[in-house]
């Protein structure tokens, strides 16, 4: 079994394979941020930081710290050659305006209609949506990268019961167990981690999975 860090890296590595040469991509905070560590060497991807730039650089410890630059998590960061700074209206114009090829976000819940809940648990935790609602409504492709369950409870459900961040927004779900495409027919499992059986994945999922005819091994 993988520990937490190995699990997150496994998910991030698989998610990075979804990115294409020339893509402009926005990564959410937490696990999604790790995706930038696994971008295949044969492609170039530009990362956006919602607070106001494109050309987001690698992990802060690998670059010269400038106190005027932070990433979307508020951490000291850096910009790569060719990058651009702008204001928040321009940044979200990029997000909503069809300029963003993909976003990778975490989630509390995702359901078979592609609905997603990831900004509040009423009465318990209310961090706010930040830029997530705009990203979900604007990005051309929405990838949810998350652990398959939370403390053993399914996060992939037939219907979300937490307040939604967006309706019918999710295209692809990537977890340590499998890869799921959200389709008009429902959730189609296209890849499975060979460490698990189909039955085990289904048991950890709160919605009925449609198994792709050409189900592949997750790498």
């Amino acid at each position: 079994m993988m520990d937490k860090e190995q699990t997150q890296n496994f998910i991030a590595r698989r998610t990075a394979q979804e990115l294409k040469n020339g893509d402009l991509v926005n990564l959410g905070i937490g696990l999604p941020t790790k995706v930038s560590n696994f971008v295949p060497e044969n492609i170039e991807v530009v990362f956006q930081s919602e607070n106001g730039f494109v050309g987001l650089g690698p992990e802060p410890e690998e670059c010269d710290i400038d106190s005027h630059i932070v990433n979307a998590g508020g951490m000291p960061s850096c910009i790569l050659p060719g990058g651009t700074f702008f204001d928040s209206a321009t940044s979200f114009g990029i997000i909503r305006g069809g300029h963003l090829d993909a976003t990778v976000l975490g989630a509390l819940q995702v359901d078979e209609k592609g609905n997603i809940a990831n900004y509040m648990i009423p009465g318990k935790m209310v961090p706010g949506m930040g830029g997530a609602m705009d990203l979900l409504s604007g990005a051309k492709k929405v990838i949810v990268a998350m652990e398959h369950t939370a403390r053993g409870n399914p996060k992939i459900l037939s219907e979300c019961n937490l307040p939604l961040t967006a309706v019918s927004a999710v295209d692809l779900i990537i977890t340590e167990m499998c890869v799921i495409e959200v389709t008009d027919k429902g959730l189609v499992m296209t890849e499975i981690n060979p460490e698990y059986t189909v039955e085990e994945v289904q048991a950890a999922t709160g919605a009925t999975l449609i198994i792709a005819e050409d189900l592949k091994e997750m790498k």
Partner: protein
């Protein structure tokens, strides 16, 4: 025209009950010393419009800790536990606004628009109580303009007329808020003489700014 005044004089212009906008994203590009002076002034019952509520010890979050807000409009409050505590206890009203919508509402107010149409928030709690408009078969939420009595913004290098150069990712909401308040005060890391800034690199024109305060580094 020299708009440079002291921090004390600037802070005296903010009254109990005012609506204030504060620039910055998780305190990056926030006028930190103006915020400190506002905490010291004890001004209260304010309404805050800001991207987030910073941290308990950094950015506008220090004013949350000092309980100076009766109402907060922000996209994110998760980095400041005090905001959540005051929201749960009912002490402070918190309205969560998607970040891109907040930016556009401020931009609309500053550029004479009656609002903006966006698909962000459709089908969520954000649409509650809002008018929906259909354009060419697509549904949008009507989000109204958002103004303030006072905007407290940041500048990296500011001349005495109020022209602002921003370094790094500090533009964020500052550029927008500069246009959308009756009184605009900029806290400058460095103040320079008029003519020293290359107009090609000025991001906020001094025509939007009423007062300049030197914060220093």
């Amino acid at each position: 025209m020299n708009k440079l005044i002291s921090i004390e004089e600037a802070v005296s212009k903010i009254k109990d009950g005012d609506t204030i906008m504060v620039g910055g994203f998780l305190a990056n590009g926030s006028p930190e010393k103006l915020i400190d002076a506002l905490v010291a002034s004890g001004v209260k019952d304010l309404t805050l419009i800001c991207n987030d509520t910073g941290f308990v010890d950094k950015g506008v979050g220090k004013m949350v800790v000092a309980k100076q807000f009766k109402k907060i409009m922000a996209s994110h409050i998760g980095t400041n536990r005090e905001t959540g505590n005051q929201m749960n206890s009912g002490e402070t009203e918190v309205i969560l606004v998607p970040q891109g919508t907040l930016a556009e509402q401020i931009r609309a107010a500053g550029s004479g628009l009656g609002g903006v149409l966006t698909q962000t928030g459709l089908g969520t709690k954000v649409e509650e109580g809002k008018e929906k408009v259909v354009v060419d078969g697509k549904e949008y939420l009507l989000e109204k303009p958002l103004r303030a009595d006072v905007a407290l913004i940041y500048g990296t290098k500011v001349d005495k007329f109020g022209n602002i150069y921003y370094s790094g990712s500090t533009q964020n909401f500052n550029v927008l808020m500069a246009t959308a308040a009756d009184l605009v005060i900029v806290g400058a890391e460095e103040v320079v003489e008029i003519g020293e800034l290359d107009p090609n690199y000025v991001r906020t024109s001094g025509i939007f700014v009423h007062y300049v305060v030197e914060e220093g580094l």
